[in-house]
Amino acid sequence: MGQFLQQLINGIQIGSIYALIALGYTMVYGIVRLINFAHADIFMFGAYMGFFLAPVMAKVFGGAFIPTIIAAMLITGLLGFVMEKLAYRPLRYKSRLSALITALGVSIFLENFCAMPFVFGPTFRAFPDLIVAKNIPIPGNLGLSVSNVLLLDIGVSVILMVLLFWFVNKTLIGKQMRAVAFDKPTASLMGINIDVVISTAFIVGPALAGAGGILYGTTYGMLASPFLGIWPGLKAFIAAVLGGIGNIPGAVLGAYIMGISEAFATSVNSNLGYGIAFAILIGILLIRPSGLLGKFMPEKV
């Protein structure tokens, strides 16, 4: 029982980081129907920004975590904005396949550009300790424990998700985003500026991924290489699909299911760990092909 709950806690922690990445995939897809494969690399970029900015922030502000995460979110938001302007906007009314291939190209470019020795370099970086990890036993006889890093991961992602829901549901631009996601031509006829809405999606999604990058760095204490985004990015993408791509609560739900099933599957048999997790996902998609919360939308011709 104790182990079961502990694995659940582990899964929620990983799920929180996946959720922050998955939100960006799902928001961009909801609005422009594009799977932004470079999103995983924006996550990586955010993590590296934390690596470079944390010492500076610690000097300027005294405490490093909050200024670093805000700065990283601003920078990755800007990166997303520029990426859309340069790479995706010229292709907006071209075939969707061109945009998809461009997304792959941007992803490969970011990875390899950042891996050059004078950019981020291809080798390990030890991430600065934004907070010092401490183990906090939970009272009771189940032998459960959490760490302050775990609480921080969950706390920060929940705060950001609440902010996002408020942004999407209560602000004017949020309402416009939902309108564009629902029906782009009609929304534009109603006087909504599509460019602004798309740019907003490409700022907010990457900013969340940037925050995810900082949490990743803080949690694991190292950045293996500029290719580190690929694997978490892939899992977050699958989480977004699982929850119903384009659906914001769906991405969060998918990410937690992904994290928790991964933790449980690994604890059952660590040799098969991810295999079992992915089998569960395939099972869910067989029953609900458009994802848990996704609506089935036939292609309009």
Binding site: Q3, P122, T123, N135, S147, A224, E262, A263, T266
Partner: protein, 381 residues
């Protein structure tokens, strides 16, 4: 095979003619394949440094006499990025394009296992400085190594933990996608249980380049209350696992193999790796004059003290060049025969190959004390 032989012969002739026309000196190529990028890049850099230094010393000392011509070595380094596929194409390039007389490399067992069949088929001797997996040299009689093998390393650690540290239960967490990690884990388990100890948890993960979260496995391990945690993985994941273990309140002593030998272990792991013990090929704190002389020369040249990777690559290249000199030939089979009979004395000990072309030599135990590698003991085979 005959065509290949003919090609080699023609190449040798061309090389011979070229040498004959020019003057009294010749140059031949020697290849190196190391992981210069990726998660274990410090291994590749140290190895390249060690091999380069051995080649430079060989050339300065006058090279070898091949058929009456003074011949020096041109060293060509290739990157395998820690991947068997990239390593295999680097081997093809070195053999077919650069016509190397031998290959030093690779670092990782999984890469050496991809390079070895290519070198064997082409009849080019390959000596891996650090691939400890037992199957590497079994590929063929042109494949050598300059380090002891996994069975020995896993067994040494099992004996050390059971007999010297007097710990009776252990947990193992290893990468099941890598021959090196798997080999060490298996032989540690076998050795530890043979002594009477108990391996209470034997957990795996897949691919340390992709995995960063080990909490699920560690939660399971923690529930079994082990007295020792054996992590036969490379420094990056070993440090990460220990960090997460300490964060979860799993505070038992830990250890590993020569994959721990990197300054980045402490940089990533910090206080979490303090007190960790691992088996290794060489310690820079060894007081023998030969080691101290090498440490001084290396430090002057590269601005940092050599690790075991540098020492073994230096020994591997040194051993190969020594055999090349003895053979006085650029023919693969001649160099191979000379290597088999070697009595080369390197930095990491005296070399003598057994029938599988694995050297018989000693291991050292190193402990992390105050973030520094500290020499604990030398263990003989």
């Amino acid at each position: 095979m005959r065509r290949l032989f003919a090609i080699i012969l023609v190449c040798a002739l061309i090389a011979g003619v070229g040498v004959g026309c020019k003057a009294k000196t010749g140059v031949v190529n020697l290849g190196g394949i190391f992981c210069m990028t990726g998660g274990s890049a410090t291994f590749g850099t140290s190895s390249k440094n060690g091999a380069t230094m051995a080649v430079e010393e060989f050339n300065t000392a006058g090279g070898a006499m091949v058929g009456g011509v003074k011949t020096t070595i041109n060293y060509i380094n290739e990157d395998d990025a820690g991947s068997p596929e990239v390593g295999a194409s680097a081997a093809q390039k070195l053999i077919n394009q650069d016509k190397v007389i031998g290959i030093i490399g690779a670092v990782m067992s999984k890469v050496s296992l991809a390079v070895a069949p290519i070198a064997q088929a082409a009849g080019v001797p390959e000596i891996s400085p650090t691939s400890t997996n037992a199957t590497v040299t079994l590929v063929g009689d042109y494949i050598f190594r300059a380090c002891f093998i996994d069975p020995f390393q896993g067994t040494v650690m099992a004996n050390y933990v059971y007999n010297t540290l007097k710990l009776k239960t252990a947990a193992v967490l290893y990468d099941n996608g890598n021959d090196y990690n798997k080999g060490l884990a298996e032989f540690f388990k076998a050795g530890f249980e043979k002594n009477g100890g108990k391996v209470v948890a034997y957990e795996a993960f897949t691919d340390e380049d992709k995995t960063v979260d080990y909490k699920a496995q560690l939660t399971k391990i923690k529930a079994t209350n082990p007295e020792f945690l054996y992590l036969p993985n490379y420094y990056g994941s070993a440090a990460l696992i220990l960090k997460q273990a300490r964060e979860m309140g799993l505070n038992v002593p830990a250890g590993g193999g020569d994959g721990w030998d990197s300054p980045d272990l402490v940089k990533i792991g910090g206080a979490a790796v303090e007190g960790g013990v691992f088996s290794n090929h060489f310690s820079k704190d060894d007081k023998s004059p030969k080691v101290q002389d090498f440490v001084a020369k290396y430090t002057t040249k590269y601005g940092e003290a050599p690790d075991a990777l540098a020492a073994l690559a230096y020994d591997a290249a040194g051993l190969f060049l020594d055999a090349f000199k003895t053979a006085g030939s650029i023919k693969g089979s001649d160099i191979r025969d000379a290597m088999k009979k070697t009595t080369f004395v390197g930095i990491s000990g005296a070399y003598k190959f057994d029938e599988n072309r694995d050297p018989i030599k000693s291991a050292v135990i190193i402990k992390i004390v105050n973030g520094q590698q500290t020499y604990v003991a030398t263990v003989n085979p």
